[in-house]
């Protein structure tokens, strides 16, 4: 890992240089909503944010994506899809959201490979921005991560006042900085100290904490618990938690066609909807909100850890902040731990 600094006033030049070769996605602001968007100029960027409303998963796993096109009907034909190899930069991605891609990799790069996600993933460079002021419902530290973690990014920026402290982590990141090395200066010991104190301060800001010890085992024992009914009672089944979640990846596939042309698309879906699992016969394995709420919690905190090295939660806090009825995943897991077997 090499450390540099980039003067804040040099940031626009840095972004312009990147734009020559890459599609640059960065946080932009519209009213109170921050969103990662393809920017056309450095001034589109707004870094005065805690986190984006929609997670940047929407860049690599687009909400609506064409799988291939076809000529519809009973004499149909396939018009193959070219898988894009466009190079992308996601600038100022938060460490928690960067982690979500490592979690999603375990889904899309497993027994089968999903080239639509993976090609975008491989062609993307993640430039992280440390979370100097974590939000009120942030709890990434509960997963052993830090608001200034460099573990899941290629390059990490940390705001240290007049400059950004820049760490190049992966080969991808190192190569990128090498090409425009004249913009950077070597970091001094003082810069490093500034970063360390930013990290300490950020960690101290995080007040919320999820205790995960024994949760996977406990969940195995309380599948039939009354707890799921009591949580589901207030749930309105809106799916906001899943849409805003950086690790939720479930999708629906549909054919959308006119008489002459059509496409098979995939579009984000939500396990909180009853249609999601409804069989054509009318049988539904998850007929009630109780089943759906339970499945959501189990998927993240039991099935994922059983199938991969991760819990499918990064502690970004979006589902907590935007749940219309205050179903709070930290509280849910605390209750899981409290249930008497």
């Amino acid at each position: 890992m090499d450390s540099f600094v980039l003067l804040k006033k040099t940031l626009p030049t840095f972004i312009e240089k990147l734009s020559d070769e890459y599609d640059v996605f960065a946080p932009t602001r519209k009213d109170n909503i921050f969103e990662y968007k393809l920017i056309s100029k450095p001034s589109d960027i707004n870094l005065d944010f805690v986190n984006s409303r929609l997670p940047p998963k929407s860049i690599l796993l687009q909400q609506t994506e064409t799988l291939f096109k076809f000529k519809p009907g009973r004499k149909g034909k396939i018009l193959p899809k070219e898988i894009s190899e466009d190079k992308k930069i996601i600038f100022a991605i938060r460490p928690c959201d960067a982690k979500s891609f490592s979690i999603l990799d375990t889904v899309f790069d497993s027994d089968f490979k999903d080239p639509l996600y993976l090609s975008k993933r491989e062609n993307s460079v993640l430039i992280g921005l440390s979370c100097n002021n974590p939000g009120v419902n942030c709890f990434c530290t509960s997963f052993g991560d830090s608001p200034t973690s460099s573990k899941f990014v290629d390059i990490l920026f940390t705001d240290i006042g007049e400059k950004f402290f820049v760490e190049t982590i992966s080969d991808k990141g190192k190569k990128l900085v090498e090409k425009i090395t004249d913009l950077f200066e070597k970091a001094t010991e003082e810069d490093k100290n500034l970063k360390d104190s930013a990290e300490k301060e950020a960690i101290d800001t995080i007040k919320r904490n999820m205790k995960l010890e024994g949760v996977v085992e406990k969940l195995d024992e309380i599948f039939e618990s009354q707890l799921w009914h009591s949580i589901a009672m207030k749930c309105i089944g809106c799916g906001t938690c899943t849409f805003l979640c950086p690790t939720c990846h479930c999708f629906d596939m549909q054919d959308e066609a006119t008489l002459k042309e059509g496409a098979r698309i995939r579009v984000w879906d939500s396990c909180m909807y009853s249609e999601y699992t409804m069989h054509a016969s009318g049988h539904n394995p998850r007929p009630a909100r109780m089943n759906r709420v339970r499945n959501r919690v189990y998927h993240k905190f039991s099935y994922f850890p059983k199938n991969s090295e991760y819990t499918a939660c990064t502690g970004c806090g979006r589902c907590i902040e935007f749940c219309p009825v205050n179903i709070d995943i930290i509280d849910v897991i605390a209750k899981v731990r409290e249930v008497k077997v």
Binding site: L67, F68, F70, K71, P72, G73, R74, K75, G76, K77, I78, P80, K81, I83, V107, F108, S110, D111, F112, K113, D114, P115, L116, L118, S119, D220, F223, H249, C250, F251, D252, M253, Q254, D255, A257, G262, R264, R266, D269, C271, Y276, T277, M278, H279, A280, S281, H283, P285, R286, N291, N295, Y298, H299, S302, Y303, K306, N307
Partner: protein, 279 residues
């Protein structure tokens, strides 16, 4: 990494057989790959599934109901239920469809060598069993006795009638049919499949029981098998769920931490017993 797993191969409908007509119509589609290479190289084992699509209507997951010993084509039996299956039922011989697969695990055709095979099917649930039955008939020396317990609501709802009649005629296999409600001229059992199983009282010795049908039937068949002395690792079923991708990404077909599309559809009773999940 240019291969797009969502993009199917094109098949031509070579033959359509009406298994059941009326409200709960079932048709068996015989599908032939248009690409000669694919036709030659497409291999699967009984129990595996395919995604069949009609361009513009959508895609559905079906068990392959033909045996891999039947070369040059694959078959899927489709009950007319939802949007896609209704559109498939409108199709005619010569029409083109999309097929991708094969997906999922399969029956342990080698592990079950020299064993008696007991099939317990209900309605359209016979489709995946038929693949294994035909496979066993074509590899007859590999297995011992074949018993087929099969039932449907009415005589009109029974699939594969001719094949079942042929099996009945054979000396090395027995068929035990049932319908739910009495009908004139019916000289087999009247009642539910799990009861027909108990009545038949098969010996668990050196036998593998494989069941498929509506969820409620599977549940009672398994209970009755246990009562008949079958051990938990002698009982297998094949499950279905609503699916979209078939390859473990789209999320909806999980039972506990397993996905029916790639970890199933064939499960042993042992596996299911230890699996907590919504079915």
């Amino acid at each position: 990494m240019t291969e797009n797993p969502y993009q199917p191969w094109i098949v031509t409908i070579d033959e359509i057989r009406n298994e059941v007509i009326g409200e709960r119509a079932i048709k068996t589609f015989k599908l032939v790959f248009q690409d000669e290479e694919v036709k030659k190289n497409f291999t699967f084992l009984p129990g595996q599934c395919i995604m069949v699509s009609l361009f513009g209507s959508g895609e559905c997951f079906f068990a392959i109901s033909s045996s891999p010993t039947q070369k040059g084509y694959i078959e899927a039996s489709v009950m007319k239920l939802g949007k896609v299956t209704s559109a498939l039922h409108e199709c005619e011989v010569g029409d083109t469809l999309g097929v991708r697969g094969p997906y999922g695990n399969h029956f342990d055709v080698d592990g079950w060598k020299n064993k008696n095979l007991l099939f317990i099917g209900g309605g359209i649930g016979q489709a995946p069993l038929r693949a294994l039955i035909n496979y066993a008939i074509d590899n007859r020396e590999k297995y011992n006795k074949l018993d087929i317990i099969y039932g449907a609501r009415t005589t009109g709802d029974l699939c594969y009638k001719e094949e079942l009649a042929d099996l009945e005629k054979r000396e090395d296999s027995d068929v035990h049919l049932s319908i739910d409600v009495e009908e004139e001229g019916w000289n087999h059992y009247v009642g539910f499949v799990p009861d027909n199983l108990t009545r038949f009282d098969p010996s668990p010795e050196n036998t593998i029981a494989i069941t498929c049908g509506p969820p409620i039937m599977i549940k009672f068949v398994m209970q009755n098998l246990l009562k008949l002395g079958f051990s938990e690792d002698q009982i297998f079923t094949t499950l279905e769920m609503r699916m979209k991708c078939g390859i473990g990404f789209c999320g909806r077909c999980n039972i506990g931490n397993l996905y029916v599309c790639k970890d199933g559809p064939v499960f042993s009773y042992n596996q299911l017993k230890n699996l907590q999940g919504d079915m």
